[in-house]
């Protein structure tokens, strides 16, 4: 029994060590980049820590930024459990935001209770986002279209639809410089978590991650989905309804990102405009890969990436570095992470990490065979 624990723990430990190594190496490479632009990297690291996790104020800032990442990361992580690489989170996020704004504006005009307006916005956002990613799943299942390409292209369509709507039929005539929809009334907006300066979107994200983790790893549905993801031929041989599983899981992934868009509209912007396509969907891809597509590990990783994002402002104010410097760091992490994944097989960690071959039970089983 004990040896099994070592085996299970060992695999996880290896992934953790490799990911940590990727982040540390990225920080070093980023440090070189910083030196080249004439700044002391140690100052940068210190300020990044201060800006992300140094005070309650920066923690709140970090958590605010990680809330949408929790949701957009699931858009990649959930389909990944079925062996699909989906990178269309940005599109689902944007369309979810637009649909939520439409539903919110429609219902708030009819003066129904705030909770119903918000519920309808969430449902509209999730359905819109879910439909986008599920259509990539359907194309893959029915027509063999590569889901990575199709989800990326669908993203562009979603952003185009957003622009078309806010500049056309849904435009508020008073929004001159930046075409937008009308603003939601204040009473219909999502509030903050009591006692904090953080909107309830963070709770949505945390709950979504926990629930989908339970779904994928502790229910029969998740087991079936992971069978499809691991080997679709084996899943078919077990008689599983492959198409239905693909549609449901891709819908769930898209729904998570769509809910993220709804939060962006209902808690942050108050209206839909081009600002909601600001890259949360793309950073979500990075979060999902760094979390090894595990919905539970998405939580700490999203907070880490949210922190990196939050520290950008401080770097700009104190060191006069461009706000986007931290995006460079994100890019470096992504590249190094992908590279480290391919060399992971060849890396040998010290014995106590690797989960030394559980000799006792191996020998016992082997002897039983003789």
């Amino acid at each position: 029994m004990n040896s099994d624990l070592v085996l299970r723990f060992g695999a996880g430990a290896k992934v953790f060590v490799v990911s940590l190594f990727a982040i540390v190496l990225s920080l070093i490479v980023f440090g070189i980049f910083v030196v080249l632009s004439g700044v002391n990297p140690l100052d940068v690291y210190r300020l990044m820590y201060v800006g992300a996790f140094g005070s309650w104020f920066s923690w709140q800032n970090t958590l605010l930024r990680s809330a949408p990442l929790l949701l957009t990361a699931l858009c990649t992580a959930l389909p990944a459990q079925m062996g699909m690489v989906i990178i269309g989170g940005e599109g689902a996020f944007v369309l979810g935001g637009l649909a939520a704004a439409a539903a919110g504006l429609l219902l708030s005009d009819m003066s129904v209770p705030a909770l119903i307006v918000q519920g309808a916005m969430a449902i509209a956002g999730m359905c819109a986002g879910g439909a986008v990613i599920a259509s990539a799943g359907a194309l893959r299942h029915l027509r063999g279209v590569n889901e990575t390409i199709s989800s990326l292209l669908l993203s562009y369509i979603c952003i185009a639809v957003l622009n078309q709507m806010v500049e056309g039929p849904m435009r508020d005539p008073t929004s001159l410089n930046k075409p937008s929809t009308r603003a939601l009334p204040d009473w219909a907006m999502l509030g903050n978590i009591p006692g904090m300066d953080i909107h309830v979107g963070l709770i949505f994200g945390l709950l979504f991650c926990l629930a989908t983790y339970m779904l994928m790893f502790h229910t029969t549905f998740g087991f079936a989905a992971r069978m499809v993801g691991g080997n679709v031929r084996a899943a078919r041989m077990a008689g599983l309804p492959v198409g239905r599983l693909i549609l449901i899981v891709t819908f769930l992934g898209g729904a998570a990102a769509g809910l993220g868009g709804m939060v962006e509209v209902a808690a942050v912007q108050g209206r839909a405009n081009a600002t909601i396509a600001s890259g949360y969907g793309l950073t979500g891809i990075l979060v999902a890969f760094l979390a090894r597509q595990n919905p539970l590990i998405v939580i700490p990783v999203a907070i880490l990436l949210g922190g990196i994002d939050a520290s950008g402002g401080l770097l700009q104010r104190r060191l006069d570095m461009p706000d986007a410097s931290v995006v460079v760091l994100q890019g470096i992490i992504f590249v190094i992470l992908l590279a480290s994944e391919s060399v992971q097989e060849g890396i040998n960690l010290p014995g106590w990490f690797r989960g030394i071959k559980p000799r006792s039970s191996a020998v016992a089983v082997a002897e039983g065979a003789e």
């Binding site: 087991f223 031929r233 008689g239």
Partner: protein, 513 residues
């Protein structure tokens, strides 16, 4: 480049003698070859016999220069030679025909042969090449149509073209890797007879890798037997018996006796297939209206050369391929390979290449063993999964079916082929089975595992299961089946009860006559 060309030896013109001295090769901690020495006389047919994993392929790959051996040397005509890569081996007159065809299917035989030369001029005078080649072919004891695309040739012709290509490239030591696995018995006899004729005429030396005693007895002059990377015996075939060779191959291990079939009359029809059609990957018809019945308590064997629709038929039954027409019924109920139907009719499947067809490599052994019933109690409570129950159940199956694994939590891809197969067997046959569909269930396994799995299949039949056994190995079918059908070109073309089964008739039907 030019300097190396100048040192290249001139290929020999007659059959060569090959000697391997103390050849050793390790992969990681495993010794694939441990000091193997053997001699192949010029102008002889030499069989290299051994179970899977005995080191046969490693040995010839060292000779061909695909692997660099750790110890030992290769001697050709009593001179030590270096074969660091296959090109050097070719220059020494050593060539190999692989188990799977390597000619380009869309090119003609002529084009394949000319392009296969090591030095092809930038501009080819096809007229001259064609004339040269037909002269060459006329001097050979057999011929193949030069101007047909390889894809349109039958398997036996393709094999001949492969051999012709090696001879055209001036090969004097021909290594054949399991040459008959894709041929009908007649084609196999013809080809082995031809190469033996050329060897005895002193033109070539032949080294055949095989595990079929029949071929060794009928065609080889001498034999070398490998076991676990070591040379364990050999000599003139005339001096050896099958028993002696088998004992060398498998050592002193006890092999389970052939499964005892109880005499029983077949019961009611259990599995019915009517007018079934299905397409292959390219959308071409692969199964062209198959009708068959399997009764409870009988094993129906399907013979056929690979590529005649058998794998598509199995895939349809397994739910891995949609049929384009026809019907499948299990005990009179329509069957569409859904999970509910499989559970209700206690259907089990042993597909070929189990890791590819029936397992999720990165999931654990315990999880893989639960594929059939993870959504049934006790593994599930409502929607929730009980991993501890899964693990506990797997421990029992691992012990009962002697699956060698470090733990039920080890990823199944880390197990050896035979153990993956046992794990799948445990899952599929661990519970009650009413219908069993098996496709090449022992492909690539060693003796002990083969006997074990055959025993399990017969036992399922004795308990009253309807068994459909698809195999490319006629001996396996003759040993296990109650009835044999032959599939050719997507149709069942021949049927015989086992009592009247005759190798020649079956072989002829396999070739479509």
């Amino acid at each position: 480049m030019t300097s190396s060309l100048m040192h290249e030896p001139v290929p020999p013109q007659k059959a060569v003698k090959l000697e391997v001295v103390d050849m050793g090769k390790r992969f990681g901690g495993i010794a694939a070859l441990a000091g193997v020495s053997m001699r192949v006389e010029a102008g002889s047919v030499h069989a290299l016999l051994g179970e899977n994993g005995a080191g046969k392929s490693t040995l010839v790959k060292c000779i061909m220069g695909f692997y660099t051996p750790d110890t030992g040397a290769v001697m050709v005509n009593d001179k030590e030679v270096e074969t660091d890569n296959p090109r050097q081996a070719h220059m020494l007159g050593i060539g190999m025909v692989y188990q799977h065809f390597t000619l380009v299917p869309s090119m003609t035989v002529l084009e394949n042969l000319v392009m296969g030369r090591s030095h092809v001029p930038a501009l080819i005078d096809w007229k001259k090449e064609r004339a040269d080649l037909s002269n060459f072919v006329n001097s050979m004891p057999f011929s193949v149509p030069l101007d047909l695309p390889v894809a349109s040739l039958a398997a036996g012709e393709k094999q001949k073209a492969e051999i012709l290509k090696q001879l055209y490239l001036n090969v004097r030591l021909l290594i054949l890797d399991e040459p008959t696995s894709v041929l009908t018995p007649q084609e196999a006899d013809e080809i082995l007879g031809l190469v033996r004729g050329m060897a005895h005429a002193g033109d070539i030396t032949v080294l055949i890798i095989t595990h079929k005693f029949r071929e060794v007895l009928a065609y080889a002059d001498e034999v070398s037997v490998l076991r676990r990377g070591q040379y364990v015996g050999g000599g003139k075939v005339a001096d050896l018996t099958v028993d002696a060779m088998a004992r060398m191959m498998i050592g002193e291990r006890e092999i389970a006796p052939a499964a005892a079939r109880t005499e029983q009359a077949p019961g009611a029809i259990c599995l019915q297939v009517r007018g079934l059609t299905a397409d292959d990957e390219n959308g071409d018809a692969a199964v062209n209206g198959v009708d068959l019945d399997v009764a409870a308590g009988e094993i129906v064997g399907i013979a056929g050369v690979s590529g005649n629709g058998q794998s598509e038929l199995v895939e349809v039954l397994a739910g891995q391929r949609p049929p384009t027409g026809g019907a499948i019924m299990v005990r009179g109920d329509a069957y569409h390979a859904t999970r509910t139907e499989m559970l209700r009719h206690k259907l089990a499947l042993l597909p070929e290449e189990p890791l590819h067809n029936a397992c999720v490599g990165r999931m654990s052994v315990a999880e893989n063993m639960a594929f059939r019933n993870f959504d049934q109690p006790p593994f599930s409570k409502g929607v929730w999964l009980s991993k501890s129950r899964m693990r506990a159940e797997a421990r029992g199956l691992i012990e009962r079916y002697r699956v060698k694994t470090s733990s039920p939590d080890a990823a199944i891809a880390t197990l050896s082929g035979g153990n993956v197969q046992r794990a799948v067997l445990a899952r599929e046959l661990g519970g009650d089975v009413d219908v069993l569909i098996a496709a090449n269930p022992v492909f690539g396994l060693d003796f002990a595992a083969v006997a074990d799995i055959h025993g399990q299949i017969v036992e399922a039949r004795n308990r009253g299961a309807a068994v459909l056994l698809v195999s490319e190995d006629l001996d396996e079918l003759l040993e296990l089946s109650d009835r044999i059908l032959v599939m050719f070109d997507g149709k069942i073309v021949y049927e015989t009860p086992i009592a009247q089964a005759d190798r020649t008739n079956i072989g002829r039907s396999m070739a479509g006559h």
